[in-house]
């Protein structure tokens, strides 16, 4: 086989002859399954299965939880509930700090109505240096910059498969 033939020849795919048949089968199967999952019977069956599993596993989960709490106590380690309570307290502290930050911002704005809300915020502000994708020329306007970016995106096409 010469180079030209090699380039144009299709790669070997063992599923190729079966593809049309496969697609037709999958389409039919998809329609049937969508109808099935939309039925009351499916909702009832999955609900019953889930309930059954959770009810059956509950005693084991409870036993495991109790023995784990005892083991952690023996090792002088905090339980899951205790760590969770601690995390909740941390979140509360974070919220109080955020409240204070907001009050400080309000105070600053009251004192300097035309100034920035906060010093730290000001450094992140809209006037922070930008990283231009394209160098704006002498006559470049804002809208020209923006439409250039739009065109660039529309040109790149192909995307991921549908979910």
């Amino acid at each position: 086989m010469n180079d030209a033939e090699e380039k144009t020849s299709k790669p070997f795919d063992p599923l190729e002859p079966l593809r049309a048949m496969r697609d037709a089968y999958l389409d039919a199967m998809a329609k049937t399954m969508v109808e099935a999952v939309n039925s009351e019977a499916y909702a009832q069956a999955t609900g019953a299965m889930l309930e059954g599993y959770l009810t059956a596993s509950a005693p084991m989960r409870e036993t495991l939880d109790k023995s784990m709490i005892q083991a952690l106590q023996q090792l002088s380690l905090p339980s899951r509930q205790e760590v969770a309570a601690l995390a909740e307290r941390f979140t509360n502290v974070e919220m109080r700090l955020d409240d204070m930050d907001a009050k400080l911002d309000a105070l600053r704005e009251f004192m300097h109505p035309n100034g920035s809300a906060s010093k730290s915020d000001a450094s992140q502000r809209a006037d922070a240096p930008a990283t231009p994708v394209t160098k704006p020329g002498p006559g470049t306007t804002a809208s020209a910059n923006r439409s250039k970016a739009r065109r660039r995106f529309v040109r790149r096409g192909a995307g991921p498969p549908k979910r």
Partner: protein, 355 residues
């Protein structure tokens, strides 16, 4: 007998295809790569500001805050370079912010929808306004994020929300026959408390199963056939890889919020009836005055169009638009057609209202 060169080449090619197939299924693609800076954090929530690429004088003065669902990663908005809504909007000159809710832990199992909408969201909004220096802002909510933004917009109408964009918003649950999830979570069959008593939060695996089981053949079989068929197309493979990375990155949903979603919304449709009470106050949709764009995916099986249509008649906004587009729940924003259809429409709508 000499070996047939063509057959050998075919086997080499098959080996390469199998290697690519395995790589894509077993590795994570680099996603969410647009440059950003963490500007605020509270518990698991993080607010990011995307690094502007348009000079300050050319940018829109009204910042845009993106709010995604609480049971998926928001990286779908910034899937991969060259195919990212975030990159597109930053390139168009928006001062862009993303609120990432993070993955709730056991300690967050009591968090409700109102904690998200009225505790976290207003704080993030305050930060956006402080950083941007603007008293007004725009907000885009997608999926459950649209529920949160709607509650926020109704409860805080004077916070400076100028534009509200709702993408595939599950707000109206009145057409129970048209919503598969409503049937599955009916109180006759589904006991939400049994699950939450067992796990605390709603496990991500169960949410993922629920989403995939709506179209089982497509999600469990056809999806992989499509990958196999396109293995010779590097662009399609990378797109599939990025999407698969996002789809498989599953997180749980806070127990309290899940219970409210099922009981208050799916079963009793309280938000659309103006009966939802949060923190002792009724959520009245008529209080929403911001300009409203509702984007509906015509082929959405997760949030059927009937769930997003009625909102336009319920809000107090004078400037409102419904934009219907072919595609699925995720496809309208992350599919191959999105950069030519959904993104430009959103940008044009917002552009006229962001000066």
């Amino acid at each position: 007998m000499e070996p047939d060169v063509a057959s050998l080449n075919a086997f080499v090619d098959l080996e390469q295809r199998l290697q690519t197939f395995t790589r894509v299924l077993t590795t994570k693609a680099p996603i969410a790569q647009t440059s950003k800076e963490l500007v605020w954090a509270l518990n698991k929530a993080k607010l990011y500001r995307y690094t502007p690429v348009v000079p300050a004088k050319d940018r829109y003065p009204i910042p845009l805050l993106l709010i995604f669902a609480i049971m998926n990663r928001p990286s779908i908005l910034d899937l991969r370079p060259g195919h990212s809504f975030v990159e597109f909007m930053v390139g168009c000159g928006y001062d862009l912010y993303l609120l990432d809710w993070g993955a709730p832990g056991f300690e967050d199992r009591h968090m409700n929808l109102d904690d998200y909408a009225l505790e976290y969201l207003p704080r993030a909004v305050r930060k956006v306004k402080a950083i941007s220096g603007s008293r007004e802002f725009s907000m885009l909510g997608w999926c459950i994020g649209a529920i949160l933004t709607t509650i926020y917009a109704a409860m805080r109408p004077d916070d400076g929300l100028r534009n509200l964009l709702l993408l595939t918003a599950p707000l109206d649950f009145s057409n129970r026959n048209g919503i598969t999830f409503a049937r599955w979570t009916d109180e006759k069959y589904f006991n939400v408390d049994t699950i939450l008593d067992a796990f605390g939060n709603m496990p991500g695996e169960m949410i993922d199963y629920g989403a995939k089981a709506l179209k089982p053949v497509e999600n469990y079989i056809s999806n992989y056939c499509k990958l196999w068929d396109n293995l010779d197309d590097p662009e399609a493979v990378e797109a599939w890889h990025a999407m698969n990375t996002w789809v498989t990155d599953i997180i749980p949903m806070a127990g309290g919020a899940y219970r409210e979603l099922i009981v208050e919304l799916y079963r009793h449709n309280r938000l659309m009836k103006n009966e939802l009470v949060v923190r002792g106050e009724r959520v009245d949709l008529r209080r929403i005055r911001a300009s409203l764009l509702t984007v509906i995916a015509a082929g959405d099986h997760i949030t059927p169009p009937c769930q997003s249509e009625a909102i336009l008649g319920k809000v107090g906004s004078r400037d409102k638009e419904l934009y219907r587009i072919p595609g699925g729940h995720i496809g309208i924003m992350a599919g191959s057609a999105a950069p030519r259809t959904t993104w430009p429409h959103i940008e044009q709508w917002l552009s006229a209202r962001s000066r």
